[in-house]
Symmetry: C2
């Protein structure tokens, strides 16, 4: 395994959503470590489990970037692959009330994505693009207009050349893992390593799953093992000559009361009891994979029937323990970069240790084993950014400002010291 | 220098502000690393500059705790030494509008502190308490009712047995440093080491200054040197047998526009132009030491004259770029644990890269050298907590919830695995 096995890719300048990206003449891998609060890195590094990432931090860059609200997977993966916030992607949740039909729908289709992706543009510029996601829900959504390889670890056994750009994933990477496992993420990374090693791809987006982070705190031995294994694969990508950037879609916090119970407010139940049976709460964390979080997160959309005093309801919601912010739609659009069509009459955020739900019947907590870690609010907004090579002076300034997780392709393509001069 | 030189202190159970603390039969040092955003530790550790703190993280604890809003020095130091939030200390800023007199005052006197300190209670329980602060402004404020040693690095040459409980600081620690230096913080730590070493104290609170963090980003060589020197002193405290806990009063962020200018809104100027000449803005960051931040922070109090529509003004303020939250007094009290007397009609927070000021004439930016790093809002709320020994199971659960920086004495006194069993 050495970098000689990777053919030299050609450089390209692409323009996507009003931004330009100078794709370097070498392999590039951007990783979204789903649910990777910075403390997962700190604790794993302190335990000596992430030597390659430690080296990245020492010789490249490690800093904090701000994710898009609400801090959910689809929202931030769409922002990352397009380079712009949710007001431009149109994706404001995993699960939304479609304003055109009034139906509740998952946003797992590229028909909801309103703009173009950096992946598609790179593939159209002739780069060998591969996108591997742990969850299949992201695959179709993020591979919009992309030529190249796009598959999920979850459905690695159902790939075809025609649809996925590759036919033999399991032969290449091994038998597909369970989606409810750390293996689903490691398989995604290993697939990236294999594709790079065999020259099948030189422009990679690898998006993991947060099953482990929902289930385990940073100190848990299972988490340390998981991050140790992530570190090994990142080390392999670097060893193969790729420039590597990594960030997260959101952080992760325990959402428990001091007495050991889950710290949840069932907001639809409360609003219906207090105000009107027509009140409706949509939980944008909802996706096909709810075993590890029961669809409970720290942001919800509230839809109110006509005639209710919106300001009165907003004040009452803010008064509830654990609720930290309540914004009307106009404010959410103006201050939180959200698309109007994707948010409710009110957009509600909860605190570091609190989640919001719909009604007890809407959430299956039976698989949680009495403990909940989740995300969605401001306390899961700050996430790490790791780069395998040092930043240019201009991008050091940018990184010291208010850099965003969805600027990771900008940082990797435009922000690093050119290789020629980096050794001088 | 070894732990034999420290006489064994006696254990004590004290009760302060409704909480009890089991002070261990050994020396204890709590450090407030002023302005220590977690990235200062991460970057310094990656550079190999903090081996003792790295060891603390590996064998004790490193995690994130939430500071009190607004994230300023007096607010959080008072919360830390009393163990409770600002609604109980009464301290909601370094600088407030005294509601009784209508005058603008600094809160640098213990007459403003409404409750009792853990330091005073420990001294009354017979422990040899020493409090050393970098800035003299904190000394009198935090030493309320305390028997023992209390002095500042800033005025180390002006100590007397009668007032400070010690007369020969400069002979013990060396010539006093400039308050505008990293040395002011290092002197504070070295004083703690000396007092411990000589058996003059066994219960220490050491509160540093954020001059360096205001001035330098984590990657700056000056910052790496500074944190390396902090690490050495922490190592000495541990070597002398003390159990060590460290946290911060607030984090620190660059507050710059993309074009290189300081990202500030002069809110009083704007409000007077838009609404009424009677609008008044109080900047609670203001203290006697404004050289390194020009009294610009990410939280301000707004006082409105009678007759203005408060809701209309609030909406207008929220509409300004960089402003993230606007709360009326009642909401600030209810949601942000603030004392009503310490907040304005409106309490305003700004974002990661934005500060709020009064008017251009009120802020001297001449010393900033064109660059501003500051704090005060939610993006400086999450700070590290370091413990030199492992947490008990009960406090591991607490640490995984929504632990606060002002619970550090609770963690150090009540939360660690007892020494007898920690080696088993």
């Amino acid at each position: 395994m050495n970098s000689n096995s990777v053919a030299t890719p050609h450089s390209a300048e692409i323009s996507v959503n009003g931004q330009s990206f100078r794709i370097p003449d070498r392999a590039l891998a951007v990783i979204c470590i789903d649910g990777c609060g910075d403390e997962y890195l700190s604790v794993s590094m302190a335990a000596g489990r992430m030597p390659h990432v430690q080296e990245m931090a020492a010789t490249g860059y490690r800093g904090m970037v701000r994710a898009a609200l609400p801090t959910f997977t689809n929202v931030n993966n769409c922002a990352i692959v397009t380079g712009v916030p949710p007001c431009e992607t149109g994706i404001a949740g995993n699960y939304i009330l479609d304003p055109e039909t009034g139906e509740e729908v998952m946003t797992n289709s590229s028909k909801f994505l309103q703009n173009e992706t950096i992946l598609a543009a790179a593939s159209q510029a002739g780069r060998k693009v591969a996108m591997v996601t742990a969850k299949d829900k992201l695959r179709e959504l993020l591979s919009k207009n992309m030529d190249g390889i796009a598959f999920s670890a979850e459905k690695a056994d159902e790939v075809t050349e025609e649809v996925h750009g590759i036919a033999e994933v399991e032969r290449l990477v091994g038998p597909k893992p369970s989606i409810y496992s750390g293996e689903a993420s490691l398989y995604t990374l290993r697939a990236g390593v294999k594709l790079l090693e065999e020259g099948r791809a030189d422009f990679l987006y690898l998006s993991l799953t947060d099953y482990m982070q929902h289930k385990f705190a940073p100190e848990a031995p299972e988490s340390l093992d998981f991050y140790g294994a992530i570190d090994e694969e990142i080390g392999r990508l670097i060893e193969l000559g790729a420039v590597v950037g990594a960030t997260a879609d959101h952080g992760m916090n325990a959402k428990m009361r001091a007495d050991g119970g889950i710290n949840v407010i069932y907001l639809e139940t409360e609003l219906r009891a207090k105000f009107d049976q027509g009140c409706r709460v949509i939980c944008p964390i909802t996706d096909p994979y709810v075993v590890h979080h029961g669809a409970l997160g720290s942001a919800v959309n509230v839809y109110l029937p006509d005639g209710l005093d919106q300001l009165e309801v907003a004040r009452w919601i803010l008064d509830q323990p654990g609720v930290t912010e309540v914004h009307d739609r106009e404010t959410a659009v103006r201050k939180l970069e959200l698309p109007a069509a994707g948010v409710g009459d009110l957009f509600v955020l909860s605190g570091r240790n609190a989640v919001l739900g719909r009604s007890p019947e809407d959430h299956d907590l039976s698989q949680l084993e009495g403990s909940l870690r989740s995300h969605g609010g401001r306390y899961e907004e700050m996430v790490p950014m790791l780069l395998s090579e040092p930043l240019s002076e201009q991008y050091r300034v940018k990184a010291a400002g208010d850099p965003r997780n969805f600027e990771i392709f900008d940082f990797v393509c435009n922000g690093l010291v050119p290789r020629e001069s980096s050794t001088s």
